[in-house]
Symmetry: C2
Subunit: 236 residues, 2 copies
């Protein structure tokens, strides 16, 4: 409650004015052949809602989006990509001068080692697919010499708080938001609502289940508060 | 041209009246874990257009659809499924009394041997995925004692006519429609237009590039002609 009260004290409009915010959103698709791919259930709604909320807070927003069924938010520069490699390249090319990076995209961790040029024909009862790790975008942004304030997302199917804390440390993020996904979870992938556990070095907070637009507005206020706490001399 | 002229001679309205048509459409999604899946680029547009065209021709139409971003066609009983196994079960449960089966769905040929209950965590640079064959729906329908007239679709990235003829023989289909998909092809997956090569025992024809609604109308006329040719004593 304390952090939300503090954020309330700031005017919502212009909270991020003069700041450049870069957001990744949606799933990636990793081609197996020209027809088949490995995808994931990210709808992109959370990232698009955050882009709109950051724009409403006065930021100059760029959105790098995987394949989703959503319209680009008005007033937000939107770049469409498909694979994890394309998303990595598109994000890294746009980090210059960025103050806040928010990685909401559900980027594939693994991609097929070889992509078949022609559709793979059926042979035999079993098929072995060899996958290689993809570059970690959050870590790559965190390793930049003049790194922005970094917000990571964790989509977990259990032990949400443990994974979120681990991600904060492992990835060099400044804030991590985590939600439960998968069957039985109240919000997350393919839903219009979400509930978040948010943590940073020295604090944490719960944003209870709400419409993704409202959750995005609250999270942007929290991000702004933590950003200014890290970038001013005063104690938070 | 001859077959289209013959079809033209039949009234478009009521061409399939009194007949039951079962159509499968869209992709399937094979879960790897609660978040990731193997999918394919089928939009479902061709199958949905065929369902509307068959309904317009007077048929009683049932559509079994994988996950697509399309509304159910008015007046068509639409059943939504996700995996190849679900599509197989939903189709087989609805074959009773069916006169024409049209399999347009891009059903996954292979599905992960094991589905993880929780999201798979990143470990190591490489991941091996073992996939098993899924049941062949077209062959299962063709093996029914009182089998309907069977229309198969072939989505190929080359040698379209060879694969279409091979599918006709291998699957026990009565008619196969094939289109080129993948980069560089003029129509097919994720497009609004399509061009088809259509073959049956003793004949073939090309339906040139057109809007999927128009291609569907022409294909339904061709299917009706071949259906009556096979189900009456007169020579075609």
């Amino acid at each position: 409650r304390l952090v939300l009260d503090l954020a309330d004290a700031l005017a919502a409009k212009g909270l991020l004015s003069g700041l450049r915010v870069l957001i990744s959103a949606g799933p990636t698709r990793e081609p197996i052949d020209p027809v088949r791919f490995i995808g994931n259930r990210s709808s992109g709604k959370m990232g698009y809602a955050l882009a709109a909320a950051a724009r409403n807070a006065g930021a100059d927003v760029t959105l790098v989006s995987g394949p989703v069924a959503l319209d680009a938010p008005a007033g937000v520069e939107t770049v469409r990509v498909e694979t994890a490699a394309e998303m990595h390249a598109a994000v890294m090319a746009r980090t210059g001068g960025v103050d806040i990076y928010i990685g909401t995209a559900a980027v594939a961790d693994y991609t097929p080692a070889r992509v078949a040029d022609a559709k793979i024909k059926k042979h035999g009862e079993q098929l072995e697919l060899t996958l290689h790790r993809t570059p970690d975008i959050l870590q790559a942004v965190a390793a930049l010499p003049d790194k922005p304030f970094i917000v990571g997302f964790a989509a977990e199917t259990g032990e949400v708080e443990t994974y979120a804390r681990a991600k904060l440390e492992a990835k060099g993020a400044d804030l991590v938001a985590a939600n439960e996904v998968g069957s039985g979870a109240p919000g997350g992938f393919e839903r219009d609502e979400n509930a978040l556990f948010v943590c940073w070095r020295g604090g944490e907070c719960h944003l209870p289940l709400a419409d993704k637009t409202e959750i995005a507005r609250r999270l942007i206020r929290l991000i702004a508060e933590r950003y200014y706490a890290d970038n001013t001399d005063q104690d938070p």
